[in-house]
Amino acid sequence: MIEAVAYSLVAGVFVGFAAGYVGSLMVLKRMALVGDALSHVALPGLALGILFNFNPFFGAFAFLFSAAVLTWYIERTTRIFPESIIGVLFVTALAVGILLTPEVDLLEALFGDITTVSLLDALLAVGISVPVVLVSRFVYRRVVLSILSEELARSTGVNVALANFVYLFLVTVVVAVGIKIVGTVLVGALVVVPAAAMKNVSRSLSAYALRSGVTGVACAGSGILLAAYLGLPAGPLVVTVGTVIFAGALLVRWLAS
């Protein structure tokens, strides 16, 4: 049990930073709800992993990646708002996932379980989170410039479509690896809430990105420790800590203005 919590903590710290860092772009792109809904797509993949006895991370990642590619492609080639596609596709995935997932594993799949996190899970989280942050740093400015003005970005040689694709890919990787700790329902919040909070109290882009990552660490770390102490699922506690930080940041912004 203690070992599992330690592994969870290691995984949570790394995934928390990566999720917060990548999430800072998602919030700037006003895709917070997309990030949240996207995580639900992982459930059928997770269920297949459980049913056919392979690492659920890979099933979750395959479904998330397919959904991200589909969203990116439709956004790029049609005039349909992504929200419409996500509204239909992602809740369907959640429904199918719930039907496929064995009942005994459903609670863990939805809300995570830190007591089952293994050394391999922790190593996977570390080994994935570090490159995710490094690649995010590489595309960060390109994505932000395309948010400010897509034409301006393109006129300076930025491949906006590629930058957006890489960024969506990074989101799917982080979500897939975070599911083990906080579950499919709430992993989207780990991506969105730290960044949403820190946008209220950051005066520069670099501070915003870094603080979002650090807040992700604080949310994941505190949530996991509270979960271990209280014997509750980590997912809801991680999100609750994030919400408290968000409320505090809003208060600071209100006082500062």
Partner: protein
């Protein structure tokens, strides 16, 4: 009045020798199979200002995008060999994005920000301000400073003062005026303001899917010509400008 048959300056090749920085020949753009621009031909001489006018939906922004290579097009767009283009877009979203002017500039260059800022009449202290706290006039001048960071010799502006108040418009155009005088930069700008066209430009390109007029801005005082270009003549606005130095020329 058949404006299409009016004699227009014959476009020579875009080369250092001809003095042209840009030559466009039979340009056509289709979006979703709908023709947006057809058979557009004009040229721009080095160190001059071309005002692009036309009613809404005339294809002005599409033309700028085609010139930047951001859209597929038919026909020819020939920039002279040594051209470096700076661009200021019409749409620029800064609402609630925590980014400083310095960080915005760092997207394009590692340093040397004071000189372009001074060129647009802004002090170095603006570097640490967030973009979303700047006034409309400051924002436009920051965008011009961004555009000239890597010392371009052509600037493209898509309605540079669309989002600023009339008082700030003067600041923006006086900035362009000074840049042109001091650096000999070539400017292509989209505007709806007839005052800007007549006071600041050397040549006018009137578009309405195709070229309706290409020639000196003094001709825009002819009501028949305005009617031909804009239909009701409501495509251009005239704003009263309070402080004016001399025009770009």
């Amino acid at each position: 009045m058949d404006l299409a048959s009016r004699p227009t300056p014959d476009p020579p090749p875009a080369s250092e020798a001809s003095g042209d920085v840009l030559r466009v020949t039979n340009l056509g753009v289709r979006l979703d199979h709908v023709p947006i621009l057809e058979d557009v031909t004009f040229h721009v001489r080095k160190g001059t200002t071309l005002a692009i006018v036309g009613p809404n939906g005339a294809g002005k922004t599409t033309l700028i995008r085609a010139l930047l290579g951001l859209l597929p097009y038919s026909g020819r767009v020939e920039w002279s060999g040594s051209v470096r283009v700076g661009y200021v877009p019409q749409h620029f979203v800064v609402n609630d994005i925590p980014i400083t002017v310095r960080e915005f500039f760092e997207f394009k260059a590692k340093g040397g920000f004071e000189e372009p800022l001074a060129a647009v009449g802004l002090e170095g202290s603006v570097l640490d301000k967030r973009l979303d706290v700047l006034s409309g006039g400051e924002m436009q001048r920051v965008l011009i400073a961004w555009a000239i960071l890597d010392r371009p010799n052509v600037l493209l502006f898509d309605e540079p003062t669309a989002t600023v108040d009339i008082g700030s418009e003067d600041l923006v155009y006086e900035t362009l005026n000074r840049l042109e005088r001091e650096t000999g930069i070539t400017v292509l700008l989209i505007t709806h303001d007839i005052h800007i066209v007549t006071r600041y430009s050397d040549t006018v390109l009137a578009l309405n899917r195709t070229v309706r007029f290409f020639g000196p801005p003094s001709r825009l005082s002819e009501p028949d010509l305005l009617m031909e270009i804009f239909g009701s003549g409501s495509g251009l606005a005239e704003h009263r400008h309070v402080s004016m130095t001399k025009g770009l020329r």
